[in-house]
Every structure is written in structure tokens, then in C-alpha cells.
């Protein structure tokens, strides 16, 4: 699969990634090469094959629910300790809604 610079810009927008012009050029080339390689999967017939979303193995039946006991949570002060900007118990971000 060959992709264009505008494909790269579109995907970067979806991924919220700001790319430099040089990065756009480089990724266009590199991603085209990697995706071309990935097209090799089309050689395989996967008709009727179930997709594997997780590792499955034989296991005995287990009680998967833990007991419902009260536990301490982190608390908002701890949770906010790594925030670039926090205040009044919240994460702060640039203004989203104009008054």
C-alpha cells in the first residue's frame, strides 16, 4: 500500500500528533514501505477464521469476582500530583468554551 503525504497528514490529525514537514515526508516513505510489507497478509486465506483478540487457554472455572470490600483510593491530591497544571481539585486545560 503506497500512501501519500495527505494520508499522513490526515492520520496525524486523527492521532493528535503535530508533525514537521520533514516528518511528514519521512513517514510517507517509511509507512509506505511498512504497509507494503504488511500487504503480504493478503496471501493468506483467513475465510472462516475467528479473530484472536486475546490469549486463550484451557483453564478451570474460577470465581472471577473479588469480595466487595472498601479500600482506600488514591485521593485527588495524589492523583493530581503529576498534573502539568491543576487547581481546585481539577486538571486544568486551556479554555474550551468561550463565554
Amino acid at each position: 500500500m503506497k500512501i501519500s503525504e495527505s494520508d499522513v497528514r490526515y492520520v496525524a490529525e486523527l492521532a493528535h500528533l503535530e508533525l514537521t514537514e520533514e516528518e511528514v515526508r519521512r513517514f510517507t516513505e517509511e509507512l509506505s514501505a511498512v504497509l507494503a510489507y504488511m500487504d503480504k497478509l493478503n496471501e493468506l486465506d483467513t475465510e472462516g477464521v475467528e479473530p484472536m483478540a486475546q490469549v486463550l487457554f484451557e483453564a478451570e472455572e474460577t470465581a472471577t469476582l473479588r469480595e466487595d470490600v472498601e479500600r482506600e483510593t488514591l485521593g485527588s491530591e495524589t492523583a493530581l500530583a503529576n498534573a502539568p497544571l491543576a487547581g481546585a481539585g481539577y486538571f486544568k486545560v486551556p479554555r474550551v468554551i468561550e463565554r
Binding site: L31, V49, M52, L74, P84
Partner: protein
């Protein structure tokens, strides 16, 4: 005391016979590690207070006549994608240069509960994405065997520390070979347990259907001792397995008579190299130890790299979405709008390989491509897992090389991402199938570069894997201490 050569058995004996205290041992280990670290850059930072506190707890227990734990006083290193409460955890990323986790990973809690002393956090490729450790925002790691060469990746710092002797053992993480490949490059043992065997609570997520935590050590017994301490169900990780954890050391009875070993032809056919010859010599040693060899085929192998890099990048693009400048320490300074803050933080914060994988992953998940890439790859993953299931009907274990070549030179492959991805061919299949697999040293090239041999077994058959690895290591004289 030769700190760089100690093994866990020896430490336990010395502590219990009061030949030394845990505090003496850990003090000396820290001094040695801090002095030697500039040669490799294996550690990103040390946590001496935490290590000495752990040592003091061991000494107190010994003084009271209590059992200090199976890893009492053992100086260990922890890969910097695994959270340590109050101790900086960077994931090798500029984005998290100042991140101080508010909690410990379960594997860390369990190591310390067993008496281990965590000396510090080890370097790695950014968010564990890479095969050479050259993608760290905090500098490359040099291979202790040859400083001009890479230690492998992404757990390059953990492998280098163990090989260098600045840690007795270490924790790494493995998504597509990130424990086994650096272990093979540095000449140490590296274990990727069954998917779900070790809790990932507190492991920074890269590709959640493939991520594992596992040990690196200088011999098989030490690696098994670490796994013994960290394995088992954890209510904090819903994907952790309920299966009881067997006694791994007890399984190492040296009896390999009649063990059926499968040699997949797809893994050996292009190996007219020193690596191939060393692994083949390893296979012959297994035969002399009583194993029965059988040629097998894992026919979907040729598609594994494509399958893996679709699934892992798709999951990574989703997992890395959280680094958006809101919660995790760093935010681009000059953004006026929320959208610009996201874009600029991520654009300036992530290194080249992370961006490449986010782009790939977003592409394969995007409208119009989901079915042809992501869903297709998940179906191919089923075929790869089936290959192993079929094979394990006929054999007890599978033996292969770990990497097509030994440690390469710094800078040699960094400019060709596809070539770097292709070098993961022998390790990614085990992760895709979720089976236990490990690298055990099997010799050195004429240039003195270590080569690892991979052993893979059925889900939860770590005992069978360790039995083979330990007998092999002993017969070949491959233990690193």
C-alpha cells in the same frame, strides 16, 4: 566479596550464616553499580534510600530469627516502564522525565515482599518500543560485552545491568521479544512467562494483548526464583491468570530423557551463520542429554512480523492516547487551544519510533482499513497460535534461535525501521501465541558475542521450560556467574 558474580543461592546462604548483612551487601552493590554505570548507561536513576530500607527490613527479620524471604537482600534492577511509588519512572520518554508514580506495580510489591532490594530503574526504548535501546530519550545503553554494540531492546538496560554485574537480577517487559532478545545479546537468561502469569498492574501499557513482565538473571535458577516471587493472580489485573503457581526450582531435576523437542524448519532455514551454528550445537547438546529431536513446521511464521506490527501498533496508538498534556507531567508550553495542546505536547514529546508506531496504529485502525489490516491480523494471529497448538500435540518443547544475529553496532540499523522490525521474527510468535518462552545462553561467536537459544513450551508449562534450560545451562557451562 565479588559483587558482580553473586547469585541468589549464595546470597541466601551468606545472609543466613551471618557472613554478611543485607545492609552491607546492598551498600556495596549500590556503590559498585553507581561507579560502573557510566560505562553502559544501564540505569537511568538509583533509589538508594528505598534499597537500604529494604535491606534494613531483611536484617531486622534475621535478627528476630524470622524468615527474611526467598529473595532476601538480593540487589535487583527494575525496567523504567514498571511503576515504583515515589521513584521517578520515565518509560525512557521525555514526556515522563519528571513522572513520580503514586503506586507500586504488583511485581515490584511482590519482589520487595520476598526481600529483594531495588537499586534503581533501568534504561529502555521509549515506552518499550524498539529492539536496540537506541530509542531512549536518555541516551543509548552500551553492551557490557562490547561498548560499541547495542544491548538489544527494549529491556536493554535490565539485560546490560545483569550482564555487567550491577544487578543480580532484573525485571524487564516483553511485548515482541523485549526480554529475550536483549538477554541473548548480553549473554544472560531472559524469561517471558505465559501471558497472564505475572500481573501487569503498574506496567505502563504498550500493547495490552501482548505485554508481559518477566525476569532477567545470570542463570536459570535465579530467573526462576524471581518468577516464583512475582507470578500469580492479582485482583488488580483482570487479565492475570488464576492458575496455581508451581514450584519452579523443584521442576529442575535434570531429567531430560525422552523429552520431545520440536525444531521448526522455518526458523532454521536461513541460518548459515555463526548464530545458526551455535544454536545447532545447542540442539545437539540437548540430544546428548536425552531429548528426542523432531523436525516440525510452523507454517504461518512468515506472516508473523506483519501480523505483530499491525496488532502492536494498533494497541499502542490507543494506549499512548493518554499522553496528551493533561495528566502526565509535561505539556507543550505555548498552546492556546485544547486541540493544539494535544497536538504539540504529543508532537514534541514523543520520539521518532513512538510517533511512527502511533501513525501506523492509527492508520490500520482508521475507517476503511480496519478490516483489511487490523481484523486480518487478528485472524492471522489465530493461525499462528494454532500452529503452536498443533506442534505441541507432537512435542513437549520447541527450540529456536532468539535473534538472526548477535548484538549489532550502535547506529547500524536505526535508519531502517522495517529491517529492525524484521529482526524480531523469532521472538514475536511466542508473544502472539501467549506461551512461555525464554532465552538461555548457548555460546559465543568468534568475536566473543553472546548468542541465545530460545525454548518455548505450552501455556503455563514454565516448569518444563526451566527443566530443559537448567539442564542445558549446566551441561554446557553457560551460567554467567
Amino acid at each position: 566479596m565479588e559483587i558482580a558474580r553473586l547469585d541468589i543461592d549464595r546470597i541466601q546462604e551468606d545472609l543466613r550464616r551471618r557472613r554478611l548483612s543485607a545492609t552491607e551487601l546492598v551498600t556495596e552493590a549500590l556503590r559498585f553499580a553507581e561507579r560502573e554505570n557510566p560505562k553502559t548507561n544501564a540505569y537511568l536513576h538509583f533509589c538508594p534510600e528505598r534499597a537500604l530500607a529494604a535491606a534494613a527490613r531483611v536484617d531486622e527479620r534475621l535478627a528476630r530469627g524470622e524468615d527474611p524471604g526467598p529473595l532476601a537482600g538480593v540487589p535487583v534492577a527494575v525496567k523504567d516502564v514498571i511503576l515504583t511509588r515515589g521513584v521517578r519512572t520515565t518509560c525512557g520518554s521525555r514526556l515522563l522525565a519528571h513522572y513520580i508514580p503514586p503506586y507500586d506495580a504488583t511485581a515490584v510489591t511482590r519482589l520487595e515482599a520476598a526481600g529483594a532490594a531495588i537499586l534503581g530503574k533501568t534504561n529502555c526504548d521509549e515506552f518499550a518500543m524498539g529492539s536496540s535501546n537506541e530509542n531512549s530519550a536518555f541516551g543509548v545503553v552500551r553492551n557490557p560485552v562490547d561498548p560499541e554494540r547495542v544491548p538489544g531492546g527494549s529491556s536493554g538496560g535490565s539485560a546490560a545491568a545483569v550482564a555487567q554485574g550491577t544487578a543480580v537480577a532484573a525485571l524487564g517487559s516483553d511485548t515482541g521479544g523485549s526480554i529475550r532478545q536483549p538477554a541473548s545479546f548480553c549473554g544472560v537468561v531472559g524469561v517471558t512467562p505465559t501471558y497472564g502469569r505475572v500481573s501487569r498492574y503498574g506496567l505502563t501499557a504498550f500493547a495490552s494483548s501482548l505485554d508481559h513482565i518477566g525476569p532477567l538473571a545470570r542463570n536459570v535458577r535465579d530467573a526462576a526464583r524471581l518468577l516464583q516471587a512475582i507470578a500469580g493472580r492479582d485482583p488488580m489485573d483482570a487479565t492475570s491468570a488464576f492458575a496455581p503457581v508451581p514450584d519452579y526450582l523443584a521442576a529442575m531435576d535434570g531429567k531430560l530423557d525422552g523429552v520431545r523437542i520440536g525444531l521448526p524448519k522455518e526458523y532454521f532455514r536461513d541460518l548459515a551463520s555463526e548464530t545458526g551454528r551455535l544454536v545447532e550445537a545447542g540442539v545437539r547438546l540437548l540430544e546428548r542429554l536425552g531429548c528426542r529431536l523432531e523436525q516440525i513446521s510452523l507454517p504461518t511464521t512468515d506472516y508473523a512480523v506483519a501480523c505483530y506490527y499491525i496488532i502492536c501498533t494498533a494497541e499502542a496508538s490507543s494506549n499512548l492516547a493518554r499522553y496528551d498534556g493533561v495528566r502526565y507531567t509535561w505539556r507543550a508550553p505555548n498552546a492556546d487551544t485544547l486541540a493544539d495542546m494535544y497536538r504539540q505536547t504529543r508532537g514534541q514529546g514523543f520520539g521518532a519510533e513512538c510517533k511512527r508506531r502511533i501513525m501506523l496504529g492509527t492508520y490500520v485502525l482508521s475507517a476503511g482499513y480496519y478490516d483489511s489490516y487490523y481484523l486480518k491480523a487478528q485472524k492471522v494471529r489465530t493461525l499462528i497460535a494454532r500452529d503452536f497448538e498443533e506442534a505441541f500435540r507432537r512435542v513437549d518443547a520447541i527450540v529456536t534461535p532468539v535473534s538472526p544475529f548477535p548484538a549489532f553496532k550502535l547506529g547500524e540499523k536505526i535508519n531502517d525501521p522495517l529491517e529492525m522490525y524484521l529482526s524480531d521474527i523469532f521472538t514475536i510468535t511466542g508473544d502472539l501465541a501467549g506461551i512461555p518462552c525464554m532465552s538461555v545462553p548457548c555460546g559465543r561467536t568468534a568475536q566473543g558475542l553472546p548468542v541465545g537459544m530460545q525454548i518455548l513450551t505450552r501455556h503455563f508449562d514454565e516448569p518444563g521450560m526451566f527443566r530443559i534450560a537448567e539442564a542445558f545451562e549446566r551441561a554446557g557451562g553457560f551460567a554467567g556467574n
